[in-house]
Amino acid sequence: MNRTPVESADLCIVGAGPAGALIADRLASEFDVVVLDAGPRFDDESRLERQERAIRPFFDRPAVWDSDPERDAHAASGEWFYPLNHARVKGIGGSTLHWQGMVMRLHEDDFQSGTARGVGPDWPIEYEDLRPYYADAEREIGVAGAADNPFGPPREEPFPMPAFRPSYSDSLFARACERLEITMHSVPNARNSESYDGRSECVGYGTCQPVCPAGAKYDATVHIDRAESKGARIIDRAQVQHLEHTPEEIQAAVYATPDGTEHRQTADAFVVACGGVETPRLLLLSESSAYPDGLANSSGLVGRYFMDHLFAGVGGVLDERTRQNHVGFFTSESHQFYDDADEEFGPFKLEFFNYAGPSPVELALTGDDWGDELLERLRTEYGNHIAVGGLVEQLPREDSYVGLDPDRTDNHGNPVPDVHWNVGDRALRTIERANEIQREILTELGAEITWTAGPESTGPAYHHMGTTRMGTDPAESVVDPTLQTHDLDNCWIASSSVFPTGGAVNPTLTIAALSLRAADAVESFLAARVSGKLAD
């Protein structure tokens, strides 16, 4: 594998997740594009083996996609422990290899939290600014959905694919929700309800998170492969150590390859697309006399305002069969309470589980029984579970941040990221509010409630946001509304790290839409550079 730099590259993208992949694909026909990623290029043929890892109890989640404990080491010094490697993947495709694949648009009020809800900053762009890019992103990713969400933002055209039909357990929930006047609607899924873009329809493996062996769930290898076919060069296992720069521009990405060699990838423009943790880390690692607090960090806000969504959920059992674990994705949700958000409570959405309770095959591989005794246990423990989950917004807080841990280094001797996660009372109150509604639904169903993921037992949704926030004021933000850094003329950041607030929907569609929007800006910049060179 040749991992040497590309000569005369126009654009260097650091990170081969969805943001980097979409920009690479968008610009690869017109410009010389190189994409660097710290992790490997996974063989598609290995997906069944990875699925076996997902099922077998010996393997933990990071093992499914070959997480390297030295390369991926991190600290978690905040009030709340942050299990960073549980759901992220370093490699070509990034964490979309692992993700659930839920792709909703943010609501209009999410773009104006300060104005509409009285807390948090407004985004420097409105929903209308992003609306055409949302439609573009839905086509690129391939989204199965229906225009049946009365609470969602306005849409201009149908989804690229029809929504997945509701599940049997959705029909159980529907009885209770109708009585409680809670409206259920479909979930936009980044998985194929029919063959799309040369990829298979969903065949029901049921292990969507952490791996889809069929390729029916979108992952960013789709756009990496397409970019490569247009001439982009993809270099895997290239860990970028720092970004060389002048006060005005990035000159090179210095990366190390597995044999220990360091290379310099020069380019006219750079896109940092490493997610909400590694993006600020790379900028902080690139400190210099011009930027003593980290590259592009004149505001002092690189790494600040780390946010995630928090999970709220209630589960239980019914005295009837609920038909769980046939598939690994959601078919129904409710945004009914989303826009009730104000200063006191954040937005939240409800999700009706299709995989509540244990999977029989996973159960079978644990325990001290076999034969008839095991079968009896499986029949007892599987079949009657039911659950309602949801995501809750966390407000940005300056004391919630990604920094560098000076006491621990990675496989190349660089300080590891410290995810210092603090949550805040509004999010915890919102979890309680979501729990109340979730309990009402299960009680109306006649369920015996057996667990609650509440303020004391919640966890992150692994949506890393906020650490290079977007804004118009260089003193209050890291990137401008086109995602170009305020400090550097040739650097863009494409990531959920630019979100000023997080809303309560899964972030990837917004990452994709913002990235496509940024691609327009990068294209204009590079076109001007190229024409300038020609004029010279």
């Binding site: 076996e52 077998r56 039909r165 292990t207 038909r323 046939h326 029989p360 996973e362 079949g383």
Partner: protein, 180 residues
């Protein structure tokens, strides 16, 4: 419920032939009693006979047709070097103990004695581990290998009331359907 070769093919659709790439290396590097490269390991036929005999213990009595099911399932699972070596070594360990403690190969022992053997090895009390102790490897390469084959297949799922168990590409119809 009768299992067939076709059911084994369905089970293989869930897990494939080559299991857990990369694990084999760490397993062999770990050394231990079962890592002896000079050891004479059982061939496919003996492995299959032993695995069938163990399946008759760990599968529920409602299941028949075990022999063709296990034979078909094991064929590709014995191809990848690391995983196959793990299975062969674990089978060899079981056979040695069967001979030493019970006076004959596993396949000749009564079902009760075969179960007793598994319990004597402690395969019921440990978590699976592909590079662990003998008990942990027997759990991984023998007991759980067989349970995975059964319960990731539609027939095994149906025993529990789930026609499309996790890991099986059974389509997107069954999740919409009510209890049968």
């Amino acid at each position: 419920m009768e299992l067939s070769r076709r059911d084994a093919v369905a089970a293989l659709a869930a897990v494939g032939g080559a299991a857990t790439a990369g694990v084999g290396l760490s397993r062999l590097q770990s050394g231990g009693s079962s890592g002896d490269p000079e050891r004479r390991l059982p061939g496919d036929q003996q492995v299959t006979e032993t695995m069938v005999a163990i399946a008759e213990v760990v599968y529920p009595t409602a299941v028949t047709g075990i022999e063709p099911f296990v034979e078909e399932f094991l064929e590709p699972r014995l191809e990848p070097e690391d995983h196959a070596r793990g299975i062969r070594e674990s089978v060899a360990e079981l056979e040695e103990r069967a001979e030493s403690w019970h006076g004959g190969p596993v396949r000749t022992l009564s079902a009760e004695t075969r179960e007793q053997l598994l319990r004597e090895v402690s395969a019921h009390t440990v978590d699976e581990h592909p590079a662990g102790t003998t008990a942990e490897q027997v759990r991984y390469y023998v007991v759980n290998e067989l349970l995975l084959a059964l319960y990731a297949s539609p027939k095994g799922g149906e025993l529990v009331g789930l026609e499309n168990p996790q890991g099986h590409p059974g389509g997107t119809e069954s999740y919409q359907q009510g209890p049968r």
